[in-house]
Amino acid sequence: MSTVAVGNKKVGKIHPLKFALWIGCASIMMMFAAFTSAYIVRHAVGNWLEFRLPDVFFVSTAVILVSSMTLHGAYLAFKNGNEKRYKSLLVVSAILGVAFIVLQYQGWMAMQSIGIMLDGNPSGSFIYVISGVHAAHVLGGIAAIIMAILHAFALPFEVTDTRKLRFELTLTYWHFVDFLWLYLLLFFLTQ
C-alpha cells in the first residue's frame, strides 16, 4: 500500500497517509462543529436548564493533556533510540488514555447524581452526546496506542521509516482528540 505512495513521492511533500489523516481530522472537526452549532441554535430558542459542569471533567482534561505530552515524549525517545523510555512512556500514555475514559464516565455519573439526565433538558443531553461521541473517538486513539504497544514489545527495536510514520500517525490523531476535547470543554464553559 505505502509502496504505491512512496513510488510517486517527491521530496518535501507531506506523506499521503499523513495528509489523509489531516483531512480525516478536518472531517471529524466538521461533525463537532455541527454539534456545537446545533447547541448554540437550540440554546437560543430558550427552555434551557443551566447547571454547573461537574469538576471531574477538569481532572479528565488534565489527564488527556498529560497523555498527549507523554505520547510525544515516547515519540521523541523512539526517534533518539531510547528504547526503555519509549516503551514505558507508551504504556503510561495508554493508561492515561483509559483513565480519561473512566473519568469521563465518572463525569456522566456525577451529572446523573445532580439530576441531569440524558433524556432530560437538551442542555444536558447535548453534553452527554457530544462528550460521548468524543469518547468514542478517543477509544479509536487508544486502540491505535495499544497497537503501537504491541509493536513495541513484539518487534525488535528498530527505527525504520515505516514505523516512524506509523507512530507519527498515531501521535497526530492523539493530539487531535486531545485538542478537540479542550475545544469542547471551553465551548461548554463559555456557553
Binding site: 489523509a20 472531517s27 462543529a33 430558542v45 433524556d119
Partner: protein, 620 residues
C-alpha cells in the same frame, strides 16, 4: 470512431513516455501479484481503482433501475388513479390492495409514500453520489493525474464495500412487512423520530439510518483518498493548472463531501438518540393518537438546519462531477480547447464555497425569520453567476467547433440544455417571496429533477459513453446510444416541462391522490401525459442497460490506444491497462490538457514536450 485517429500515434505515445517519463521502479516490486492473485482479489475484493470504479458503476446501474422502476409505479398511481393496478400484485404483494368485490387493485397509500421516499434516497445517494462520483473519481483520478493507483488502495476498497453494505441494508428494508421508511428522503422529524408515527417510521427508519451511516463512511473514505491522491500523487510536471477539469471537479466534490457529510452524521446521531434514548433534540409537545408525549423543548427546525447543511452541498456533490465530465467530453468531441479553463475552475470553487451558505433556501417556509431569509436569497441568486460563467464557456467551447455528434457529446450538449432550463427555474425558487406560492409544488419537483437529476444523469451518460472504451476495451453501440439520447432528451422534457404548469397552479407534490380536490381535477390529463412519457423514458433506459452489458462482452473492440484523439493521460495507457496503469515508466506531463487544434495539429498529448519557443497554452 476508432478510425478517426491514425495508428502511428499509438507507438509515439509509448515512445514519449519511455523517453521523458518518470521511472518510479514500480514494477520491480512485483506488487502486482498481490492484486491479481485469484478471482476473488481481482474482481471482488479488488484494490485496483479501475475495478473499483466498475464495481461502483454496475452497483449504481442496479440502483438506478430500482429507483426508476419505483417512480414508474407511483407515476401510474398519479396519472391513472382510477385504473386497476391488480396486475402489479405479483410484484408488490400486499401493497396492492385488491377489492374482492370488483377485482380493482389499488396501490396502498403508505406504500406510495415509501416509494417516493426510496426513489429520492436511492437516486440521490446511491446513484448520483456513489454511482456517479464513485465511478468516475475512481476511474479517472489516478489515470488522469498519472498515478499508479489511489493513495490508499485498501481504504478505497473499503469505500466500495461500505457502499455495498449500505445498499444491502436499504434493499433489505424494502421487504419489511411494515415497509421501508416513508417520511420523505429528507427524513424530517417527527415522522423520522417517532417509531409510532407511521408504518415506515419503525424498522424501516432504523434500517434507513444504518444504511446512511454506512454510506457516509463510504463517502468519507473515498473522499479522503480522492483529495490525497490529487494533491500528492500527481506525476512529474502535472501541476494543478494542468489538471483536466474532471479532476478539478472531483477534487472540489470530495472536499464538499468531507465537510458536509459529517454534519449529516451529527444530525442523524441526534435523531437516533431521540428515537431510542428518549432525548428531545427535535421533539416538543407532540400528541400521537391523543396521547401527549413526554418530549419537551426540542426543535424540528434544528434537524432541518443540520440536514440541509449537508443537503445543499450534496446537490453540488452530484452536479460538479457531471460538470467536469461534460467539460472534458465537450472539449474532446468539439476538437477545441475548453473555453476559459481557469474561469471554469474558479467558478467551480465559487459554487463549492457558496453551496455552504445557502442551505436555508430549502427552509423559507418552515418558519425561518424572513429577514434571515434575505441573506440566503442573495447568496442563492449569486450562484447564478458562476453557473452562467460555466454555461457560457460550454457554449463557446462548442461554438465553431468541429463537433463529432456521438452519444457521448450529445449527452454532454443535452446536459447544458438541462442545466440552463433547470437553472432558470432555480432563480424563481431562490426568491423567498415567490417560494411562498411555489414551495412543495410540482414546480419544485420539475426544477430539481431537471437541474440535478436529469442533468447529472446526462453527465453520467456522457462519461459512460466516452470512457467505456477505457473501462472495458470496447465501444458501446453508438446508434443505440443516439436513440437513447434523443428519446431521453425528449422524454425528460415531456415529463418535467408540464410539471412547471402544475406547480404554478399550486398542485402540491407528494400527494397520493387528488380526487377530493376539485381545483386540481382538470390537471389529470396533464398528469397522464407525464406518466406516459415516463414509461417510455424508462424503457429507453432499459435499452441503455442492454447496450451497456451487450457491449461489455460483444461491443466493437478498441483497436488504438487513443480512440477519441484526446490529449489527457488516461489515453496513453495500454488499451486494457493492468495494475499500475502504465507498463513501464509513468508519463511526465509537459502541457495543459486542452491542446486541440494547436499549430496545425488536431491534438497534442500532455506527454509531448513543448517545442522550442512554444508556450504552454494553459499559462495565461
Amino acid at each position: 470512431m476508432a478510425t478517426l485517429t491514425t495508428s502511428p500515434q499509438t507507438s509515439e505515445l509509448d515512445q514519449l513516455i519511455e523517453k521523458y517519463g518518470y521511472d518510479d521502479h514500480f514494477h520491480e516490486h512485483h506488487e502486482g501479484d498481490k492484486y491479481k492473485s485469484n478471482f476473488l482479489t481481482t474482481y471482488v475484493f479488488s484494490q485496483d481503482h479501475k475495478i473499483i470504479a466498475r464495481q461502483f458503476l454496475i452497483t449504481g446501474i442496479f440502483w438506478a433501475f430500482i429507483g426508476a422502476a419505483m417512480s414508474i409505479i407511483f407515476r401510474l398511481q398519479l396519472g391513472f388513479p382510477d385504473e386497476s393496478l391488480a396486475w402489479l400484485k405479483p410484484l408488490l404483494g400486499k401493497w396492492i390492495e385488491v377489492d374482492p368485490a370488483t377485482g380493482i387493485g389499488k396501490l396502498a397509500p403508505e406504500f406510495y409514500y415509501a416509494l417516493v421516499t426510496m426513489h429520492g434516497t436511492i437516486i440521490v445517494f446511491f446513484v448520483l453520489t456513489a454511482g456517479l462520483s464513485g465511478t468516475f473519481s475512481n476511474l479517472l483520478i489516478p489515470l488522469q493525474c498519472g498515478a499508479r493507483d489511489m493513495a490508499s488502495p485498501l481504504l478505497n476498497m473499503f469505500s466500495y464495500w461500505f457502499f455495498f453494505l449500505a445498499g444491502v441494508v436499504m434493499f433489505f428494508s424494502l421487504f419489511l412487512s411494515t415497509g421501508p421508511f416513508s417520511g420523505g428522503w429528507t427524513a424530517y422529524p417527527p415522522l423520522s423520530a417517532l417509531p409510532q408515527a407511521s408504518d415506515g417510521s419503525g424498522a424501516g427508519m432504523t434500517l434507513w439510518i444504518i444504511s446512511m451511516v454506512f454510506f457516509v463512511v463510504s463517502v468519507l473514505l473515498g473522499g479522503v483518498n480522492y483529495i490525497t491522491t490529487i494533491l500528492n500523487l500527481r506525476t512529474k510536471g502535472m501541476n494543478m493548472w494542468r489538471l483536466p477539469l474532471t479532476i478539478w471537479a472531483f477534487f472540489i466534490t470530495a472536499i464538499l463531501g468531507l465537510l458536509s457529510f459529517p454534519v449529516l452524521v451529527s444530525g442523524v446521531l441526534l435523531l437516533m438518540f431521540d428515537r431510542s434514548m428518549g432525548t428531545s433534540f427535535y421533539l416538543s409537545e407532540i400528541f400521537v393518537g391523543g396521547q401527549a408525549l413526554e418530549n419537551v423543548g426540542g426543535s424540528p427546525i434544528l434537524y432541518q438546519h443540520l440536514f440541509w447543511f449537508l443537503g445543499h452541498p450534496e446537490v453540488y456533490i452530484i452536479i460538479l462531477p457531471a460538470m467536469g465530465l461534460v467539460s472534458e467530453v465537450l472539449s474532446v468531441h468539439s476538437r477545441k480547447p475548453i473555453f476559459g479553463y481557469k474561469a471554469m475552475v474558479y467558478s467551480m470553487l465559487a459554487i463549492g464555497f457558496l453551496s455552504f451558505i445557502v442551505w436555508a433556501h430549502h427552509m423559507f417556509m418552515s418558519g425561518v425569520n424572513p429577514f434571515i431569509s434575505n441573506f440566503f436569497v442573495i447568496f442563492t441568486l449569486i450562484i447564478a453567476v458562476p453557473s452562467a460563467v460555466k454555461v457560457f464557456n460550454w457554449i463557446t467551447t462548442l461554438y465553431r467547433g468541429n463537433i463529432r455528434y456521438n452519444a457521448a457529446s450529445l449527452f454532454a450538449i443535452g446536459f447544458v440544455s438541462m442545466f440552463i432550463s433547470g437553472g432558470l427555474t432555480g432563480i424563481f425558487l431562490g426568491n423567498s417571496a415567490i417560494d411562498i406560492q411555489m414551495h412543495d409544488t410540482y414546480f419544485v419537483v420539475a426544477h430539481f429533477h431537471i437541474v440535478m437529476g436529469i442533468a447529472a444523469f446526462f453527465g453520467m451518460f456522457a462519461g459512460i459513453y466516452n470512457w467505456f472504451p477505457k473501462m472495458f476495451g470496447r465501444f458501446m453501440n453508438d446508434t443505440l446510444g443516439k436513440i437513447h439520447f434523443w428519446g431521453t432528451m425528449i422524454g425528460a422534457y415531456a415529463i418535467f416541462w408540464p410539471m412547471h404548469y402544475l406547480g404554478m397552479a399550486g398542485v402540491p407534490r407528494r400527494y397520493y391522490s387528488f380526487g377530493t380536490f376539485y381545483t386540481f381535477k382538470h390537471f389529470l390529463e396533464g398528469k397522464q401525459v407525464i406518466t406516459g412519457a415516463s414509461v417510455v423514458g424508462f424503457f429507453l433506459q432499459v435499452l441503455f442497460i442492454v447496450n451497456f452489458f451487450f457491449s461489455m462482452w460483444k461491443g466493437k473492440k478498441v483497436t488504438s490506444q487513443n480512440p477519441w484523439g484526446a490529449s489527457t493521460l488516461e489515453w496513453t495507457t495500454p488499451i486494457n491497462p493492468g495494475h499500475g496503469n502504465w507498463p513501464g515508466k509513468i508519463p511526465a506531463v509537459h502541457r495543459w490538457p486542452y491542446d486541440y487544434g494547436k499549430d496545425g495539429h488536431e491534438f497534442i498529448s500532455q506527454v509531448e514536450p513543448l517545442k522550442e519557443g512554444e508556450k504552454d497554452s494553459g499559462d495565461h
